[in-house]
């Protein structure tokens, strides 16, 4: 049968890894129709998906993640993967947090491909050396170091002023207030937490970082920001592990040319972002068969390994051989395992893992507007955030 896969893994590494899956499928005698729609974190792809679903012609599989899977489930578009899951023992090989996301109403409807850690900080040791400071472990240290770096003529923080990057930075700061605080705010959407002084603090810290980004940050793509770190123009960037790809592409070595640390104040904590393919209900029996096979193959170690080596993330599956992965990946895997038991493993708000897209959008608006506004106070922002969240839960 054939599978049509709608996704936005279009860049070099991703595409290569998707091709692995394609080859695997074709080896099993299936046809792979590759429907790639890049851009805007999958915005376009989602639009396509909706239009195709409404036209009554959905693809067999689509890259959907986080709570959105539940939404599609709600609408009854997704198919049941329990049989494959049982055969492949998904309940065992996947950590609970991951498998929860893949299920709708207790049934598997999607298969994960990886886990990203979002709360990374990438640093250029050379710059730190020149400025004569150590890599900061907390936000206080961050600002101390940043002052010196700035004085030394570097940009302390490489940042791109796009809403999701603002949110990534913002959530990293929030996470430094503790996983509990983070969860209450970004999963529970607890109004009290949202309006708490801690939140005001978070906003203040957040705003303070603005003094340490360069003037041209607005609208900058994340990878440009990364290249500032690579070039030695900037000292640090707070960004998910996909940034590693940029370093690799520039021929830089982890631990030597660049170093990866958890974002200040969040070591041991892990904000995750899981990519997955959800399976849509299709009529054709052959296609159904192919779909099940696809789900199975995705969880197989061969694919998980290649894919994640390429993407900079770590496998969704536990207990994988890790010798091919680099030091950052290792530390990510460690953190993943460790945090999964302590409650320090939390879904990323900025990447749509913790809340649905409405709430996420509302938060983005407040966060990014605040970051760019000269007049808005942190208190205002907190108030707006709480109100926006409430309005969007409507």
């Amino acid at each position: 049968g054939e599978v049509e896969v709608l996704h936005w893994w279009t860049s070099g590494g991703e595409a290569a890894s998707i091709n692995v899956l394609k080859d695997l499928m074709e080896k099993e005698g299936h046809t792979w129709k590759d429907f790639a729609v890049a851009g805007g974190g999958g915005e376009s792809a989602m639009t396509v998906l909706k239009s195709r679903a409404i036209a009554g012609n959905p693809p067999s599989a689509a890259q959907i993640k986080g709570p959105t899977i539940q939404e599609w489930g709600d609408l009854g578009f997704l198919t049941n993967l329990d049989a494959v899951a049982k055969q492949g023992k998904w309940d065992v090989v996947l950590p609970q947090v991951v498998s929860d996301v893949m299920k709708y109403d207790g049934h598997y409807v999607a298969a994960p491909v990886n886990v990203h850690r979002v709360n990374w900080m990438w640093a250029n040791p050379e710059v730190f050396k020149k400025a004569g400071v150590a890599i900061p472990g907390t936000w206080d240290e961050f600002f101390e170091a940043a002052d010196k770096i700035k004085a030394a003529g570097f940009t302390p923080l490489a940042h791109g002023g796009q809403a999701w990057q603002d949110a990534t930075l913002f959530e990293a700061i929030a996470l430094s207030k503790g996983s509990q605080f983070y969860s209450a705010a970004f999963i529970g959407l607890d109004e009290k937490t949202l309006r708490s002084d801690d939140m005001v603090d978070v906003f203040k810290t957040f705003k303070k970082t603005r003094d340490y980004v360069d003037t041209g940050f607005s609208g900058r793509d994340w990878n440009i920001a990364t290249s500032m770190v690579i070039n030695g123009e900037a000292a640090m960037q707070i960004m998910g592990d996909w940034a590693k790809g940029e370093f690799t592409a520039a021929g830089k070595k982890a631990g030597i040319d660049y170093v990866c640390y958890a974002a200040p104040g969040t070591s041991g904590q892990f904000t995750f972002n899981i990519d997955s393919l959800a399976m849509f209900e299709v009529d054709n029996e052959d296609a159904q068969k192919a779909q099940q096979d696809l789900a199975r193959l995705m969880l197989e170690p061969t694919f998980q390994e290649t894919f994640n080596l390429n993407k900079g993330s770590i496998p969704a599956r536990l207990n994988m051989p890790r010798d091919k992965f680099d030091s950052c990946a290792h530390s990510s895997m460690d953190a993943f395992l460790a945090s999964s038991t302590t409650g320090d493993l939390v879904p990323s708000m900025a990447h749509g893992m913790s809340v649905n897209s409405m709430v996420q959008g509302a938060m983005f608006d407040v966060v990014t507007n605040f970051y760019n506004s000269d007049s808005m106070t942190a208190e205002d922002a907190v108030d707006r955030l709480a109100r926006a969240v409430k309005a969007s839960m409507y």
């Binding site: 590494g13 595409a15 639009t47 009554g56 996909w242």
Partner: protein, 293 residues
Amino acid sequence: MSNVAKRQTSALDKVLRVVLYAGLLTMAAVYLAPFIVMLLTSLKDVEEIRTGTLLSLPGSLNFDAWSKAWNGACTGSQCEGMAPYFFNSFQIVIPAVAISTLLGALNGYVISHWKFKGSDLFFAALLVGCFIPFQVILLPMARTLGWLGIANTTTGLVMVHVVYGVAFTTLFFRNFYQSIPVELVKAARLDGAGFFTIFYRIILPVSTPIIVVTVIWQFTQIWNDFLFGVAFSGFDTQPVTVALNNLVNTSFGGKEYNVDMAAAIIAALPTLLVYVLAGKYFVRGLTAGAVKG
């Protein structure tokens, strides 16, 4: 005194002429600036882009990015560049432009020369179609196409482009035909020509400039359309803009701006070609001598 001297231009005229050319060329330079940046970038290698400035010249002429964009760059799991998508785009653009232009010309012709009760109202109503945000119609259109059984096919996409292009083409043609003397149509009717004959023999031959404008508009709109192209195409009928988008929007790995820029220029080539070719037909005075007064 047989002198063959042409009209002697006064000094003031000469100055004005110089100013005119200066103005035109300055504007041309302004319009070209972004293109030059793109072109220069497409000729540099990744390293030069990283280190150089926008307008710095490439170290050597380097067309690697172009060939990569054409048939090497990855757009999803395939790495065949933009080439395969050109065909898809042409398959969509040519019928869509042809049909919408023809329909627009016919509609314009009716509205300006075969008025019937309600034709003006129809025109006004159609114009409203120009202002519907396309995002709004994605979902209902998807459902309609599903019903018609042409979802995610080239046919469907052509239909969508025609439907939303025809308001513009009608507008262009109607406003142009408004200035064609009514006597021409009257004379032809008396000569025994019917509706289509008049259109084909009398009206179309004087429509060249507006056909050019309409084709330019429609070709550009449809060729560069991304939203409909992505939402309503099938996996093997994606137009070149989707490929370009995929090519440009990598969220991982080193960004190859040179390839992006080359791809953008390549993607624009057919449109540019249309501009150059069609431009010849910006001719003067097609209805001259038609009527007196």
